[in-house]
Symmetry: C2
Subunit: 452 residues, 2 copies
């Protein structure tokens, strides 16, 4: 057997249920991996080895017939999400050692399913700035020059990529789930807004904030998404299973829409090449691929997203501002003080303008098995001071559509680059079915594989 820390969650689940692996042994293997890597990667804001092992031993005592669907599966929790047995510090001096004794809804659901809540992963301050945490992208470990793992779910993306934990939760207001997914070469899912409760996590913008997750296989995303309640209207998976029953394999016959969006001029070599290769691979496997030009109104999305995020920040960070504005980042002070002089009228025009486009993108995306769009401008930038651009993500966050980052491509420096698949709202399970087929071929033929 390979080292347990290298298992996907789905593989580990099978072994644990078959009594071939104890939760304690699995946790021990991950802790050893972390011990050997943490001084380099710094993915954790809080990790209590004894607490992990104690929980693992408790889980091992549960009889097989009483085990939950995630029994014994370790999961990292972004440090803006409440965990009743660990501090939640938001990478903010105002919340140093702050300990909230209730679980966020997402954590409570995972715990009830038997998951092993492993530790807290690093985040940018309140998941609301682009100032990097100490985390480095594991694919840029020394002797390479350090690169950002992306943000704000920096530790979650890095820990899953680095085999320190098979699954992790993240949150996205701009591009904070998908961007680290792409930069770290892992699968990442931002579900439909409102499909999973975001209760018990730091608020940035109520209409944007979305909880999501990381894994190293689409199957794992599916296991986690199912437990967390992702449910389409019916069992429609875009015809993928029907086609399988009929003997049609993979993406053959599925129709994909390539959406470059109005921010395409920001695409760098890695993303331009990834989008080209994605199209080639899909076509080679018999998919129908066409370019989709979104109506002009969608060109407003980057500006509208920025406006509602700033307006939300004006409300959201007032409490921290009043407590001690010297302890929050100047960009958050700027939101509260509305330094850009945004008016309520502009804020509402953005809020209402986006609302009108949601059913329109559903209609457009509904014509395809999935839309294919960039995950990021390119590979992870050098340095860990900044977490990179959310230019290609913010639109989908605001439109509330589910997005899955598919890894498999690489940039000009050999760093991973992913592409995003997008489906209409509340077609999360459908999107996962398509992502499975697409992931299989992008991973094999995209040109990048993890050296970790």
């Amino acid at each position: 057997m390979q080292e347990p820390y290298r298992l996907t969650a789905s593989q580990a689940l099978q072994l644990i249920q078959a009594n071939k692996l104890t939760v304690e042994a699995y946790a021990q293997s991950l802790l050893s991996r972390i011990e050997s890597r943490d001084a380099t990667v710094h993915a954790w804001a809080y990790l209590n080895r004894e607490l992990v092992l104690e929980q693992a031993r408790q889980l091992d005592k549960i009889p097989i017939e009483k085990r939950g669907p995630l029994h014994g599966i370790p999961i990292g929790i972004k440090d803006v999400i409440y965990t009743k047995d660990m501090p939640t510090q938001h990478n903010s001096p105002l919340f140093k050692d702050s300990h909230v004794s209730v679980d966020a809804a997402s954590v409570a659901i995972l715990r009830a399913a038997g998951a092993l809540i492993f530790g807290k992963t690093t985040t940018t301050e309140f998941a609301a700035t682009t100032i990097g945490s100490p985390t480095i992208n594991p694919h840029s470990s020394p002797p390479s020059t350090p690169r950002t793992p992306g943000g704000s779910s920096s530790g979650s993306g890095a820990a899953v990529a680095d085999y320190q934990v098979p699954l992790a939760l993240g949150t996205q207001t701009g591009g904070s789930i998908i961007r680290p997914g792409s930069f770290n070469g892992v699968y990442a899912m931002k579900p439909t807004w409102g499909a999973i409760s975001r209760e018990g996590q730091k608020v940035y913008s109520l209409i944007l904030d979305t909880v999501g997750f990381y894994a190293r296989s689409v199957e794992d995303l599916g296991v986690l998404g199912g437990v967390l309640g992702l449910k389409d209207d019916d069992d429609d998976d875009g015809g993928v299973s029907d086609r399988k029953e009929a003997g049609v394999e993979g993406v053959a016959g599925l129709k994909f829409g390539i959406v470059k969006t109005c921010v395409w001029p920001r695409a760098e070599e890695g993303t331009v090449s990834a989008m080209q290769k994605a199209e080639e691979i899909l076509k080679r496997h018999g998919a129908i691929v066409e370019e989709v030009d979104l109506p002009d109104e969608f060109d407003n999305m980057p500006d509208w997203h920025a406006k509602i995020m700033a307006a939300a920040g004006r409300t959201t960070f007032l409490a921290e501002y009043r407590i001690d504005k010297s302890q929050i980042h100047e960009s958050l002070v700027g939101h509260v003080e509305n330094v850009n002089g945004a008016t309520r009228a502009e804020q509402l025009a953005a809020f209402d303008g986006i609302a009108i486009l949601r059913p329109r993108i559903d209609e457009i995306a509904g014509r395809y098995a999935a839309l294919v769009t960039p995950s990021i401008p390119g590979e992870a930038p050098l340095g860990i001071e900044g977490t990179g651009s959310a230019a290609f993500n913010s639109m989908w966050t605001a439109l509330h559509t589910p997005v899955v980052n598919i890894p498999g491509f690489q940039g000009e420096n050999g760093m991973p680059v992913g592409v995003s698949l997008v489906a209409p709202r509340f077609r999360d399970q459908h999107l996962l079915s398509v992502a499975k087929e697409v992931g299989d071929i992008f991973e094999k033929e995209g040109g990048w594989t993890s050296a970790l």
Copy 2:
């Protein structure tokens, strides 16, 4: 001087700043009032006399020049809102004695302003059912037959009406702020959605939940709203102050739109009479009053509101359901299990349909100083088992408009009945200015005064 417990917050603020009243003496007076009334009214889910007095003494030690804008002002906090020094129990056995050690954003802002966080007021379970708490409407104290204070902010409405505290926070997803305001004969404000952070309170529906507050004067609503960050685009108060400078008093010349809405057939004698009197009083004082027929699309609002609330419940209560579904009310189990078989398509049609109507109601309401609309079907129903109907509130909650309940009228049994004023989104300060003028005349001429 009258008993301190009878002071409005604004009156108390003046006395405290003038060193004519200590915070401790004020708190002591309120505690005595509560002691004499609590066995009847039951407005509190948690009240720690010693903690209140200790905080009061600490506040008294602060030098005048360092005091905040709410220095020493007691405020009740609905028990679905986190308070770092008190339990937050949500009227749920799952959260009995649960203690979260951080303040909700609203509470943190109030505390930073010097407010005295007084205790936790009763709520329906998770502010999400219409099953009454033990609280009774103080205007139905024995020997009267007990009536509901409304819900879900039952204790907040009752405590403010009963002079147990001058201010209280509530939350509204359907009609949970405005309804108790009307039933208890106090001012109540549901601000624009998103104008005040709702971080740190139980989630029901992210797109509906709104934090708001109770007081016994519009001036007090204004003080609290200002501290909590309500801010219109400019200092436009609907011309009220310009008119005052020009020597025009009260509502003379202001234009009001009477909106009966599609649920008008549910109006009972108390509300029919209140709406008639409201119109008469406004006209008598020189206001221009016209009836507004909303476009037909607005007739969908009750159904759409119900659909997005149910869909939200399906997501929101999954955590409690998974922990122990026998410990949550069957209506919440029903949401999670989607017993009504609502589809995602219906949920999205409701979500998107309401979004289109928000700018339309802004445009309509913007033609008037305020819209005038019922707060509730009638006076508080007999019994405390049910908290009454949100039929007249849910539409405005979903449309995100600010609403103020103005007390002053009465039903067929002498119980208070209020009417609502509504303004376009983010015209909260404007609405408060208009509410001041309207409140003055409705209180004097509406026919109801508190006997408490």
